[in-house]
Symmetry: C2
């Protein structure tokens, strides 16, 4: 069984927003065994939407439409779906009450356009939106399911997990889809492919392998599909067991649903250990990545971004003599930053970065792309130097990923 | 003239990566007067790619294909394009030299699969990729242009701006497209729409209006298209001049190509003023947003994320008495954080945040979603309290946006 995603909105096509909804939908549908055939982003234009609906109906069994359900004139999805189903709009009492409740909570006056949010196609089942005024709508045609959802990510996500997925599972039985992603660091995509070629060639036909290189890491994704969850799971595990000895030197871990920083955070929390961060060239990205996850306060003591060299001296207590002798981008400064920020926040572990993210040289003679990363524990400090190229965004991203992987290695040693 | 984007890769459809390339392409093409008809994301599957190419050829004049050009077996775009054009692959000497140079720079052994990167369709013009091994390929058919590019964002972006756009401009003449986006804060989408309804109804037909609500802000986007740049530009400006008096109380500024934080950074740099940040609940996002932009060191002194309450006391010098009396999420603590971090980093301006991003309550009794934000200058400190709802990601994002807009207001006062 396949689904197709249609995202509606000129803001996607002119590049004003990045469509993050589709990735969420792809993940959630794969979890229940439904693969996404195609994602199509179309304009706020009636004929274009009608054409996309027709094509999707030909490709897939489940059609998920997001966007274009706002109260303003540029939002035309609801009227267009009504036309596609040859239907009329009727007022839904429960939706109207929901709209009234939201406006009364916000102490905002209820306008006529807001009341129109309660109009839904008469053939649709309403999916109540508890986070906004636009309801989700569920329609069926020739055994196919059409679901129209608001484009606001928070509202769409809640409707999918709380209502759409349970309703689909109740109505259909799905095969089992499994993805297992192996994180590697240190070997290029093609060298990795050559090394594991024989293993790859012998994969059973229901397991597909993909290489996903990104910012210094290569992720290997195994995707398997079958009717029997146990057979699929066992075979994937057997293949992983065959693979691991061949990539031991570059194996970092598995990517579950969680990012590497979330895995580190969970592990530190379980161990009852804490972390502090001092970042110069990464500018707060390491800190922000850890605190983005709920529960960060269990292990994350804090972060310092001493961007100006003077603040490295004043706040972090790096001696001016060390900076003058070695320059601000150096092993000595990186290690002093990690050691001192660990002491400052009284944490068990600390990470530091100092480098030049570019595009021009800063308070140091270091080449653009040069980054020193250090990890400190109570007993010791280790550090390494890298060159992450000449593009600022890449340097920041790759240094952050590398810092996570260096920290993870230190933590795993304590196992 | 219209373009269509086809992004290829199972990783997009299973939600393993978010497609950010399409937004970049949408922006760049709009700048030269080419609108994007549709974005289609398809699987690493020959028949699916062939079908998408055929449909795109029917919809658009320029077809941009990204992804699937890697050296591994899951990458099939090149062979499929070859089939679509009824063509054969031939080795390109210049591409082979580029591949050899890259591998020699990385001191990696050159494998046969890497050499295959130099195979291109015989009918294609090569677009040399200076950042990677997979070349871009330019093909033409019945007056339509097909461009195949690697999916790695850095490589794709350089090829687009340095080669594809100049080549298109040399070959075609495009109409003029203009977008002007007005940032507002403080009024809901529908209330705003009602207030400016008369103005909206009187817009000329070549100007479209869209409402883009996001994390507390509503952006109003005017899109205009025409053959004469001066006529289009004048009319958009005339409409903006008519609109502004009606939205004076909620007008924040214009969104050019730059984000609000980039505008603030530019303005601070021009004024020769500096900034420091102390963030608790926003966890480094404010700091990271400023340092992500090149040139941040001209105005950004540094950031502190005193996540644990004890570090607010120890590093930022907030008195325990204040915390005990008012709690850590309070006006008094927010103002002391802003005042003290400004002094600590010796900056002209400072922002602070303290709140509870959820999902559970932290070191404070404050409701989930409560955030105090303060802005300090040398003479004074102001603060406000907000409730940004119960979803962690939203609370962090909305608090960050609100902090930017409070800081901007303070900076504009100094005009």
């Amino acid at each position: 069984m396949q689904a197709e995603i249609i995202t509606i909105g000129d803001e996607i096509l002119i590049g004003q927003i990045v469509d993050t909804n589709s990735a969420f939908l792809g993940k959630e549908f794969n979890k229940i065994g439904v693969s996404i055939y195609q994602i199509t982003s179309v304009q706020d234009d009636k004929n274009h939407i009608l054409k996309a609906l027709k094509e999707a109906e030909g490709n897939a069994d489940i059609i998920i439409v997001t966007g274009g359900l706002g109260p303003t004139k540029d939002d035309i999805t609801k009227h267009t779906i009504c036309e596609y189903f040859n239907d009329v709009l009727v007022e839904d009492k429960a939706v109207l009450e929901n709209v009234e409740r939201i406006f009364s909570n916000h102490k905002s006056p209820l306008l006529t356009v807001n009341k129109h949010q309660a109009l839904v196609p008469s053939k649709s089942k309403v999916l109540m939106n508890h986070n906004g005024t636009a309801p989700g709508m569920w329609l069926e045609k020739n055994g196919k399911v059409f679901v129209s959802l608001p484009g606001v990510p928070l509202e769409m996500k809640a409707l999918i997990t709380e209502q759409v997925i349970p309703k689909l599972r109740a109505q259909f039985s799905f095969p089992y889809i499994m993805h297992k992603t192996i994180l590697t660091y240190g070997l290029g995509e093609s060298a990795l492919a050559e090394r594991i070629e024989e293993w790859e060639d012998n994969l059973p036909s229901f397991i597909k392998l993909a290489y996903l290189p990104s910012l210094g890491r290569v992720r290997l994704r195994l995707s398997a599909k079958g009717t029997d969850q146990i057979i699929v799971g066992d075979e994937v595990q057997r293949q992983v067991n065959l693979l691991l000895p061949q990539i031991e030197d570059v194996f970092v871990g598995y990517e579950e649903d969680q990012s590497l920083e979330a895995l580190i955070g969970r592990r530190l929390s379980e161990m009852g250990k804490t972390l502090a961060v001092a970042e110069s060239c990464t500018g707060g990205l390491i800190t922000q990545s850890f605190t983005a996850n709920a529960g960060a306060s269990a292990f994350f003591k804090g972060g310092l971004v001493p961007y100006a060299t003077e603040s490295k001296v004043k706040i972090l207590g790096i001696s001016e003599a060390i900076i003058n002798e070695h320059s601000v981008v150096s092993k000595a400064v990186a290690e002093a930053m990690a050691t001192n920020v660990r002491a400052l926040f009284d944490s068990d572990y600390a990470i530091s970065t100092t480098g030049n993210a570019g595009p021009s040289k800063g308070d140091s003679d270091a080449e653009v792309g040069t980054v020193w990363i250090a990890v400190a524990t109570k007993d010791k400090v280790i550090s390494e130097v890298f060159n992450f190229g000449k593009h600022r965004e890449n340097v920041i991203g790759r240094a952050t990923n590398k810092a996570f992987s260096m920290l993870q290695k230190e933590i795993l040693k304590k196992k």
